[in-house]
């Protein structure tokens, strides 16, 4: 009996130690993006396709955004596909649940963030949804999914901004196999608008940024991938 208790205690210690060790591991991840070299645009859009989160314990996110600056900006509206593959992972767009959905996140000050989370008919990640952020002529900013206005208009305090194609991934134990294409062949390329969405122009010249190692970014124009 005493031996059984000792063995049970030993196993519990090992189990607890492993659990704590996993949590104590430094979290990995970050973001990578392509952005226009100038601002003042009135919208951006792209179809996104690809895969992510295979065997991962965290999240992957693929989005287009408009923000007031590419360096230290404080105003932003973005829409993207979010997949969380780990029930113990919480963020402003989801409540620590294993799920795929559309996240619409905004901030007007770089301090307060609001994120609305939507389901889609197809719950797979990266299945050619067209996403867009557009300033309608009537004011504010809208988020579009597959040609339909999903949310808005939001008053963000910016009349124009920088189009961004953003990738994010975070994980705690096993890295995801992130491989997403903005503007796959036959679909809508990554584009900007200067006339409130009446017409769009494919973005050819762009800057690239990655906040952590491991990210790879193809050159614009579409189709281009961000992958790791």
């Amino acid at each position: 009996m005493s031996l059984r208790r000792s063995l049970l205690g030993f196993l519990l210690c090992i189990s607890t130690a492993l659990s704590c060790a996993q949590l104590a591991n430094a979290q990995n991840g970050g973001q990578a993006a392509r952005y226009t070299t100038g601002g003042g645009y009135l919208g951006t859009r792209a179809t996104i396709s690809g895969s992510g989160a295979t065997n991962s314990t965290g999240l992957v996110f693929a989005a287009v955004a408009i923000q007031d600056n590419v360096s230290g900006g404080t105003k932003m509206l973005q829409i993207g596909e979010l997949q969380i593959t780990y029930d113990d992972y919480a963020n402003d767009c989801n409540q620590a649940l294993n799920v795929v959905g559309i996240a619409v996140e905004r901030t007007t000050d770089g301090v307060n963030y609001t994120c609305d989370f939507w389901s889609t008919a197809d719950t797979r990640f990266g299945v050619n949804h067209r996403i867009a952020v557009v300033a309608p002529g009537s004011g504010g900013w809208d988020a579009y999914l597959d040609g339909n206005r999903l949310e808005g208009p939001f008053t963000l305090g910016m009349s124009g901004g920088y189009p961004i194609a953003r990738a994010e991934a975070f994980w705690t134990t096993t890295a995801p196999s992130y491989n997403v294409t903005w503007g796959p062949s036959g679909y809508t390329p990554w584009q900007y608008t200067t006339n409130h969405g009446n017409t769009y122009t494919t973005i050819v010249n762009s800057g690239a940024a990655a906040s952590s190692s491991g990210w790879n970014l193809d050159n614009t124009p579409s189709p281009f991938r961000i992958y790791r």
């Binding site: 993006a33 230290g72 402003d92 609305d116 994010e168």
Partner: protein, 255 residues
């Protein structure tokens, strides 16, 4: 010809009046069958009382929009107040909604004391998913079970009864605060992971330093914004966190 036009006009007017009376009758019937909180004032008072909070200083309905004035002392307390405001607003809408599910108030908007919008504009009211109410003491149990894995010291726990019940935690990191904030997605996820059906229940986590310095806020509001609900976050200017999309770890790209 003129008589015919007059007759048709009178008939149309009568039809409009009759239709309006029918709608008014329906609204009155719904109101009288939905309990003591069926007026806006009654619903607000009941929600305020249940939340035990005074962050919302006034509530009024303008058309289909419920406008809430939010108290604001500083940036962090304002973020807390905004979460309370949305919870209160959504609870009020649920209390005065017609029984058939059609919502007379379709938007919630928050303004500051000067009347300026603080939310980027009105937000849609979305459906609430029916869920079992949180049992009494649930939030205390969640906190005590998960604090160690979440690497936090739980300073206070409050359980609210509105919107099916929700948890409010104030916690202090037991590891380096900047490291905690940077990696908060996994730590805060560990804290709330055992809240049952947690996307259907409100939650608020205030992360403060040992000296009560605000570090991070993460909140959830069901029935507002997206079909799944809405999350809110507060993070210190220039800080980065895996719990807030778009901020981490190189805030807003390019440094």
């Amino acid at each position: 010809m003129t008589k015919t036009i007059v007759r048709v006009t009178v008939l149309v007017i009568l039809l409009v009046i009759t239709g309006g009376l029918l709608v008014m009758t329906a609204v009155a019937a719904v109101s009288s069958s939905s309990g003591t909180s069926n007026t806006l004032a009654g619903a607000v008072a009941a929600a305020q009382n249940s939340l035990g909070a005074d962050q919302v200083t006034s509530v009024k309905q303008t058309g289909a929009t419920l406008q809430l004035t939010i108290a604001s002392e500083d940036s962090f307390s304002s973020a807390v107040a905004r979460w309370y405001g949305k919870i209160l607003g959504r609870q009020v809408v649920s209390q005065i909604a017609p029984a058939d599910g059609a919502l007379p108030i379709s938007q919630i908007d928050e303004v500051d004391a000067s009347g300026a919008d603080i939310n980027g504009g009105p937000e849609s009211v979305t459906s609430l998913v029916r869920t079992d109410p949180l049992p009494s003491g649930e939030c205390e149990g969640v906190a005590s079970s998960n604090a160690a894995d979440a690497q936090v010291l739980v300073k206070t726990v409050k359980q609210i009864e509105v919107l099916g019940g929700g948890c409010i935690f104030v916690v202090t990191p037991e590891i380096d605060p900047s490291s905690f904030v940077s990696n908060a997605g996994s730590y805060l996820g560990a804290l709330i992971r055992s809240i049952p059906d947690r996307r259907s229940h409100p939650s608020l986590i205030e992360v403060v330093g040992a000296d009560n310095t605000p570090l991070l806020l993460l909140g959830w509001i069901p029935g507002v914004g997206g079909a799944f609900g809405q999350g809110v976050a507060w993070i210190g200017a220039g800080s980065q966190s895996s719990a807030v999309l778009g901020t981490t770890p190189s805030h807003r790209i390019g440094n």
